[in-house]
Symmetry: D2
Subunit: 346 residues, 4 copies
């Protein structure tokens, strides 16, 4: 019963097969492989962005930090949700890659920044001219860290705040597939048509061993991204193994199918928990379920083999009745039996 | 009627005379001058720290950023007040000098962090191991940005939180002289005896053209500081002109006299304002006075030649009755006549 | 006839099978997988270093830059061969990861620094104290970029120069397997017993899709390496796919077999070229062959489908008789037929 | 007899008087002072550059590193003479300020790069695309570190190489005044008319306590420079003391007079040495004299109170007859008596 993360499950077998299939003969290195040309064409088509610059890296932190460094100057500040992965989970990667830009945090109780809050925080970050950091890019996450999604309309409204200030926008799309599966929107609607300049589309949490697609809608940013990727050690020599993952994942809509499966598992889990009177904290719109339960129940579940993370708080506290929040993450492989077993323990 | 900043007034004439006097004949460069040896001895004596490493730089931002870089690793986060100069007024200098460390902000409504708040923020910054920044130094400001002071007991209690976690402590002492003048404490009581590892003692805001003394109580940190100072362009070739300032400023307690004068002027101002029914926002413990007044009054004062800064808000708003906060900064040269003229306008 | 690089060939099938096999069920992420525990144990055994800290990354540039950043301070200079990959082929990655350290170059006509040259360059880099960079680590490459090897005795003699100065040592082992296959030495003899502090053992150029093993012989350096890896985006969430590569590659000495095959192919090529009167530039001790040939011959070979890189110079020059140097790189998959075909064209 | 550096002598009294005179009343901080407006106007007139952005900093390293950071991307390499101050004497400041750019060295036996050498080095730095640093700015020093000058024609010819490649140009003008005094050229002829984008004009080595003028001929670069200066701690709050130095130094051509005096002293020294059969190493075109003499003579001179630096080599060697090079630096205050005394010792 592993709900610890969407990175603890296996890759989809079709992707592993594609890796094996890609392993024949010689191939040009450093992104010059034929498979990458196919990935590029496929991604441009998918995003309705025939000119976009398209790159692959292996980790979400690399995708985010390289994208932010391409958008932000070292003397700027990046606006993001207080819960953003780029702030909380990357050990200062944005600060490192940008050469010392700052992150200015926007409260986002359910994971989503609101236009009002973003506007207010941007407005507050100005009055000192050269003394305080200049306003830099807005970084938004879709699906958010709490499993909620913006959807096209809300995202467009949020990013209009950035556009009005002339600020560029980065989208952390480590779980963009889940948000697209939930809303049914076109990829363009959650990216460039909503005001995004650089987006990632994450394969790693959605059935790949490790690949993230970075899309720069203004191809003029491409050269800088390429130099930054290389000097950060994120340009793969045997690049075909990234390309093959991405291509198989995009093939026939597999990426969306996997995201739908993960979303479905989460919905199933959330429904089951609600049926048992467990409080679900955030709307379940993707593959993450946050719930409240007494410490004693968490202990019981984990003792029986359930693997998941508390969201703050500690299993070791004295009071068995204290309510602790927790996160369940479903990947594409989370099956009925596992979910039923988990729900059965409650 | 210039209350815009404690950096708009003149230097004390004795310090200018010392500059002129230092300008005779040849002197060793890069800190090898005889005056610097005297400064070093005098500072060690003053701080009761016979082994301390002592350096001079010309700006407060240099003093802070170099000190923090010596204490923090790039993958750490620095804890400081939300209002701290290192966060708000240095255009990402700490992020730059540390190679990308983060600043984690502690609410400090009156400018002072409390032990409880600092403890809570440090505690919250931990659970993700390698994924989030490691806990790094605590940076504290004395006098704070709002003109309040910690004083020895409160500072010791606050920094005990850092010591308990094994975190090093930086003290931004751009206005340390004012705090020492207010409390009458020994310099050691507001620095190493309270738990400070590296402190600055600022001359620039207290009557010097531009000199900040940095004291590293552990001399083993000295070599790193020296290399960092040099590669940041902050090692002066004609160093004697920094030394001469510092020496004349320390001579005969001039530095404390000047701080007392500035504090006295602020107390006078605050008293006069209170007498006229104006609300003073923070305890006036140093050379800064924050007060609330209607927009119309601010307009009147500035139209009559008073020079000071609003603390948020804008003179241009529509409502003449809206209450706006403002800051008055007094330097040593703020004289009775100027203050009387200002108060007379209200 | 692809001799363009040792990164254009396929991975060994056994390693692909291991990847597929690793793709079953759930596994702890971020290096907590069981396979990594096995890799760690195997590497420690192989290097006779039971305490060593062992990490995996996906690219050679990441391995080098992270290792150098762990050894060098930003105000230091790194000593390396003028031809070193860290200088020539990493787009300033060492400068980026170290926060601005310098690289000081040592002439190495056949790819190998000599003790005399290294000593002289280190000696020359000193006289200015704080004004010039401090002496930092020595970075050595085994197999060198020109396909020569140091071997244990020569390496020990070279690194004695660093040890005498108290300078730490990094070994770029992107092709260390080839050097070990050539000399028959124990891994410890080409690393810690010769004076190396941090070494990489590269799988990518030796039959893996993309994995580099970093070994820090002083485990106290491990925590810093882990934070640096994370903030550089080089910690893989689905780490099992790095572990599985490394484990299969080490299993049963496959790594050495593959290196021997590649070395054998290069020896065969070099012999064949010599038989045809072609000048071989450097001793062929690993999997690289450098040779001189007239422009016209290079044109002929490439026109017939041979893929390799000139070593300086351009195919487009006017003089068909001009002698141009070129590099042939053999990977484990370079077979007899391909080599025979190539030699047959001459 | 202090010839150790042009930074060991006193400032000119007129400049000290200007400092004292500037110390009256209040003045806007951070460069908003009236004196700075005058400096800006005067510098623009002097350089025949009515649109140029003009800034002041206190050290030559700050001027150089900030300028280079404005011109170079982190993934580029800067071309400069092997003897350049930015390479040898700034403890990696360019690498720090640029975020990790590299310096590629051009041999310059007499301190001057030649167009041929620069062209060859630039040409050699290309072939690897994204793998090696991109070609970045050329940094040239006038007066060079060896006391030679380019003069307008030679400089224009050299920089044509950079222009032909589309590379921007930085001029380290720490001793630009001496070169202008020597050649009689207009400041524009040694800067923008010769192809320079950003130049410094150094006051510190020419009679000021510490001020360097940075001129960006394309004012569009100004905002970036301002942010970089601020976040590097090089924006002075009490800026009037920088402005006052610069203004007094420029007033009535004092800056050129002082440079002429220093140049004259060096010429006198060199002539005297030649008369005594001492070999002068480089053409004496500014205020530096390099000469060869046996170790025994150096020992004698220093024992008698002469203060200067050997140029490589050590006073402590065993052979009294070994010829050692040395540098004599003259500042404006080097008087006849001091020079006569020195020559008398030989």
């Amino acid at each position: 019963m592993n709900f610890a993360s969407d990175n603890t499950g296996p890759a989809h077998p079709a992707i592993m097969q594609a890796l094996v299939a890609a392993n024949a003969g010689h191939a040009a290195s450093y992104g010059g492989d034929d498979l990458m040309a196919q990935v590029r064409a496929r991604v441009r088509e998918l995003f309705e962005a025939p000119e976009a610059a398209v790159y692959l890296v292996a980790t979400g932190t690399a995708a985010n930090a390289l994208s932010l460094a391409t958008l932000a100057q070292p003397w700027e500040t990046i606006f993001c949700a207080r819960t953003a992965h780029v702030h909380e989970d990357e050990a200062n990667a944005p600060e490192f890659f940008t050469g010392g830009a700052k992150l200015t945090l926007v409260d986002a109780p359910d994971g989503r920044m609101t236009a009002e809050r973003l506007r207010a925080v941007i407005a507050a970050q100005e009055g000192r001219g050269i003394h305080s950091p200049k306003r830099g890019p807005v970084s938004v996450t879709e699906t958010t860290e709490t499993g909620t999604t913006y959807g096209p309309a809300r995202l467009r409204a949020l990013l209009a705040v950035a556009r009005a200030q002339g600020l560029p926008v980065h989208l952390d799309g480590a779980r963009l597939a889940n948000a697209l599966a939930f809303s049914g929107a076109a990829p363009a609607d959650l990216t460039w048509r909503a005001g995004v300049d650089v987006a990632s589309l994450g394969g790693t949490k959605d059935g790949c061993p490790g690949v993230e697609i970075v899309v720069l809608f203004d191809p003029a940013r491409g050269e800088e991204f390429e130099y930054r990727r290389k000097r950060a050690g994120h340009l793969f020599s045997k690049h075909r193994y990234l390309s093959a993952q991405a291509l198989a994942w995009l093939e026939g809509g597999l990426w969306l199918d996997l995201a739908r499966r993960a979303n479905g598992a989460a919905a199933h889990l959330a429904g089951g928990l609600r049926d048992k009177g467990i409080e679900i904290i955030f709307p379940v719109e993707a593959n993450l379920v946050f719930f409240n339960a007494p410490r004693a129940l968490h202990r019981h579940l984990m003792a029986q083999g359930a693997d998941y993370h508390l969201w703050g708080g500690s299993l070791d506290g004295p009071d068995p009745d204290e309510i602790l929040a927790a996160r369940l993450a479903c990947d594409w492989s989370a099956d009925e039996a596992m979910i039923a077993r988990f729900l059965g323990l409650i």
